[in-house]
């Protein structure tokens, strides 16, 4: 490893960082515009053309605002929590491949933070870590509403993480039948979704694993604390939940983490189920540069379709009651995921080894 390798690593990390920050700027604005459209409103219109600079303006405003520290906080944890929220949010995306590797000066640069061979486990670990930020913020604020929000976050995250993990298990099992041996590397999972079935249907995991896909979608909405599962923040009941006592830049970091999480989780859903950056590139007919960029375009397109579903759900559904949230998680999603694992493994076994009695 020499300086060029380190430079490439730095480049990839910075690329991911910039991509996430840029996507957050767009996403916050896009959410406000889309929800406004769904309510016959205009949404932000003043800052820049169609208000596209609104997020930037809000961010600048929050940056210059005073970060009030209430008297009864546990200071260390209170100051640490926003960083605990942001860091895992950015780390999750590090394992997601967002384009075909390209070659610069004889060195291959993968468009991915890093290709971990345990990518999927890393991803689960990071999304679990993100809950600590919410819980610690809620507890250290020394106030009732944040505490309630934090306690809710614990239970919700545990319930839905289980369903999310089980949905991933089905995907990993299916991926193992698609190539040589099983893999947890996201780059490999994407590579195995290349091509089509019968020349028409793309070999996306979403088609054979449709139940796992639906369960995963529900679980990531709950995992990112978005409506209708936003009991952690629940403005109407617990005035913002865990971030009630945060203001200024510290609040902005929670906000940033939430939107980075949405983007990362949507990107993961696109990677695991919708074939990641796979898509027609028309190599040869189009200029080489366009063909090199097209996979990234496909990836972003799939990600934004899922993000749009996030926004659509938010504009449509009222918040679930707490017991409804729990019963949906434990009584519907987890049994459904377990059943699906059994059913799909039987189907895969039959396809691989034939019927046991024949």
């Amino acid at each position: 490893m020499d300086w060029a390798d380190i430079g490439i690593i730095l480049l990839r990390v910075i690329l991911v960082f910039v991509l996430l920050l840029g996507a957050t700027l767009i996403n916050v604005w896009a959410e406000r515009k889309i929800v406004a459209d769904m309510q016959s409103r205009l949404g932000p219109m003043r800052a820049g053309p169609w208000g596209i600079l609104q997020t930037l303006a809000d961010g600048l405003k929050l940056f210059f605002k005073e970060s009030v520290t209430p008297r009864k906080v546990e200071l260390g944890t209170y100051l640490l929590a926003p960083f605990l929220a942001v860091i895992p949010a950015f780390l999750i995306f590090m394992v997601v491949p967002f384009g075909v590797p390209f070659t610069i000066g004889g060195r291959e640069v993968a468009l991915q933070g890093t290709d971990l061979n345990i990518g999927l486990l890393f991803l689960l670990a990071m999304s679990s870590l993100a809950v600590y930020a919410v819980v610690l913020a809620g507890w250290s604020s020394g106030s009732k509403y944040p505490l309630i929000g934090g306690v809710r976050a614990t239970a919700q995250a545990i319930s839905y993480e289980a369903a999310m993990g089980l949905a991933m298990v089905a995907v990993v099992m299916f991926t193992a039948t698609q190539g040589e041996g099983g893999t947890l590397s996201l780059a490999e999972i994407v590579a195995r979704q290349d091509g089509t079935w019968g020349g028409i249907v793309p070999r996306w995991n979403a088609f054979p694993q449709i139940v796992a896909f639906v369960i995963f979608m529900v679980a990531i909405v709950a995992e990112t604390n978005r409506a209708p599962f936003d009991l952690v923040e629940a403005e109407q009941e617990i005035v913002g939940g865990f971030h009630t006592e945060y203001s200024g830049m510290r609040f902005a970091m929670f906000f940033l983490a939430e939107y980075v999480n949405i983007f990362s989780m949507s990107a993961i859903a696109a990677t695991l189920f919708l074939g990641g950056w796979n898509g027609p590139t028309w190599e040869g007919t189009l200029p080489a540069v366009v063909s090199a960029i097209l996979p990234t375009v496909w990836f972003l397109l799939k990600t934004y379709v899922i993000i749009f579903i996030f926004f659509w759900l938010r504009a449509t559904l009222p918040r679930l009651r707490y017991d409804q949230l729990m019963s949906l998680g434990w009584k519907r999603l987890i049994p459904a995921a377990l059943t699906w694992i059994v059913v799909s493994s039987i189907a895969m076994g039959v396809r691989q080894f034939g019927l046991p009695w024949s």
């Binding site: 889309i34 406004a36 459209d37 769904m38 309510q39 016959s40 409103r41 205009l42 219109m45 659509w312 759900l313 504009a315 449509t316 559904l317």
Partner: protein
């Protein structure tokens, strides 16, 4: 399964609204300063003190408006007219006339109380100030000049449409028998401030002379 069909129904509503909004079929927002909605004809904006066509002030300093005001925001002091050079056709005129628009609730009771239609309201509502003193409108700001032009507190306001000062709110007397068929075609309010341009109201005898339709 019931849950999923309900979910799809909800998504259809929001999705449909989004499509209608994007294609411009449905929109509740107007971009206010650049795009203004038509105000109702009887919109209650800031007040104006009117004059007769010959330039005489209509206000006779009777203080009925001050008495009618529920917010107690009008202060009037009358003064005897100079017999040689009268300000108003009556015995007295409004020597001091102040409205505190911070207290005003724009109910229009002063307009209804006025026996001479001296005080009416305009359609201008962009009257915010950066200073409490500026919200107290005196004779200088309220009284129209002899040509019928209404003075503006902020003549160079980029947002306000100054022509709205010339659009009077339509007003109805408290005794207006709204809804009675015999009053059809009888104009009970004036559409412009200043000198009345409308026919005098019919007398009670004339109205009574009209045939009252049989009603229960």
């Amino acid at each position: 399964m019931g849950m999923i069909t309900e979910l799809l129904k909800g998504l259809r509503v929001t999705g449909g609204t989004m499509l209608r909004t994007i294609t411009g079929k449905e929109m509740v927002t107007t971009q206010y300063p650049t795009e203004k909605r038509q105000k109702p004809q009887r919109f209650h904006g800031r007040h104006v003190l009117n004059r007769y066509p010959d330039g005489m002030e209509k206000c006779i300093g009777c203080e009925l408006c001050a008495g009618a005001c529920p917010a107690d925001c009008i202060y009037v002091r009358g003064m005897d007219n100079d017999p040689e050079n009268p300000t108003s056709p009556g015995e007295r005129y409004g020597y001091v006339y102040e409205i505190n628009l911070l207290r005003c609730i724009f109910c229009g009771l002063c307009v209804e109380a006025c026996p001479t239609e001296a005080i009416t309201m305009t359609h201008l509502f962009e009257i915010s100030t950066t200073n409490r003193q500026d919200a107290i409108y005196t004779r200088n700001e309220l009284l129209m000049d002899r040509e019928g032009a209404v003075p503006s507190m902020f003549p160079d306001d980029p947002i306000a449409d100054q022509s709205e000062l010339l659009t009077a709110d339509g007003w109805v007397r408290a005794t207006a028998p709204a809804g009675r068929a015999v009053y059809e075609g009888v104009q009970m309010w004036q559409a412009t401030p200043g000198p009345a341009t409308w026919e005098p109201e019919p007398t009670q005898d004339e109205i009574d002379a009209r045939t009252e339709p049989e009603s229960g």
